[in-house]
């Protein structure tokens, strides 16, 4: 399968471009709309389909296994934290279900970012990500290795 874009729905916001793990969603330079530049490389992860705020992206099945027009449509609700799925099989059967945006149980393990401390200027400028180094369970901080040390024992 590969994704394709409904041109009348797309407004070229570029969310699919940002999220595509294969970097194959691009903004067309003529129409300024999203386009899958390499459908062969699309592994139907549905990231762009879910991210599209205009529901302008769909995925089509290859004719060998989806010859009679099945469809898989997705709706992401950021506020409710849900992904709604509508799957139509080629025999006409339909399945509707919802899954949480995260793979963790609903309502659990949600970091309360607003209750945390405001990051300082040093925090913002540091290379550490949010919750690092605490989240890495390294009391002494991130390991720091000199660049030349990488070379030790490596013979090219």
């Amino acid at each position: 399968m590969s994704t394709f874009v409904y041109m009348t729905r797309c407004d070229g916001c570029g969310h699919c471009v940002d999220i595509c793990p294969s970097d194959i969603m691009h903004i067309d330079k003529v129409t300024r709309r999203a386009v899958n530049i390499e459908p062969n490389m699309c592994w139907e992860c549905y990231s762009c389909v879910k991210a599209c705020p205009n529901d302008a992206i769909d995925a089509r099945g290859y004719a060998d296994f989806a010859p009679m027009g099945h469809s898989v449509r997705v709706l992401r609700d950021e506020e409710k934290g849900t992904i709604s799925w509508k799957i139509k099989f080629r025999n006409g059967n339909e399945k509707n279900f919802e899954s949480p945006i995260t793979t963790k149980p609903w309502g659990k393990y949600i970091p309360k970012l607003a209750d945390g401390e405001m990051p300082t200027k040093e925090d913002i400028e540091s290379q550490n990500l949010y919750s690092e180094p605490l989240g890495l369970n390294i009391d002494t901080g991130l390991p720091n290795m000199e660049k030349m040390k990488f070379k030790i024992g490596v013979y090219y």
Binding site: T8, I27, K29, D77, E78, E79, S84, K86, N96
Partner: protein, 264 residues
Amino acid sequence: MLATNPFAELAKSIPSIAIQLFIITMILLVFIGTLLDILHKKNVKYFFQNAKKAKKQAKKILASGEKTSIIFKTIGSDILTTAELGAGKRRVAHLLGMYGTIIFWVSSAVMIFGYSSSNTITPLYLPFLWHFGALMTCLGGYWFWFFLRVDVAAEAHPWYRLIQADLFVLSLVITSTLGLIWSFLQSSNIAGWDILFLALFGLSNLVLFGGVYWSKFAHMFYKPGAAIQKNLAKADGSRDNLPTPSNKPKQFGLGIKREAPKHY
């Protein structure tokens, strides 16, 4: 300058029939360009195929009264006031450009076909509307070009980076700008320069109307149809085959409530 019909002044040196023929040629170019665009991209074919598919998935059959009310609502919100662009600067800029262009084109056509001969007197409001329309187009267009378009606002590209998708907006604002400059030079009796800017104004019109096939000019014909189809699909329950929105309580999510980026 604001009260002078520049085409009546022009008709003193060029026969008004030539100016009228130019306008007819421009209309023909738009027609041919759009037709070629439709034939090449097959967008209209796919659009109707999709609409037919959506009709099959409809959960309820809309009465003609319901359909008419949806169409009128769409015309009022999505088309005439471009509600799709949200409530921000982008919408204001688009409305300025859209209505400015309509006023500019309609007043041009009325002045050229009705008041370009030497024995007619142009009503004062027409040249005023022509200049006002061009100014509105410039204001909305340049605002969009320098600050609001996605390449500059979201992608941080410099304003002078050009791609083919810019052909429409650039030729539109340049045409209005050159029209205003030509009108100013003509009313100030600056010989030579007014002819140069008249030629440039004509050339920019040729690029704008002759470039329909290569530019995004035809979006003004497709967008209203797409908006009507979208709202009809929402009303008849087919919803473009999308799942029904979640009815889960809000606390399941992160409670993120941000405006979806639908303003491009």
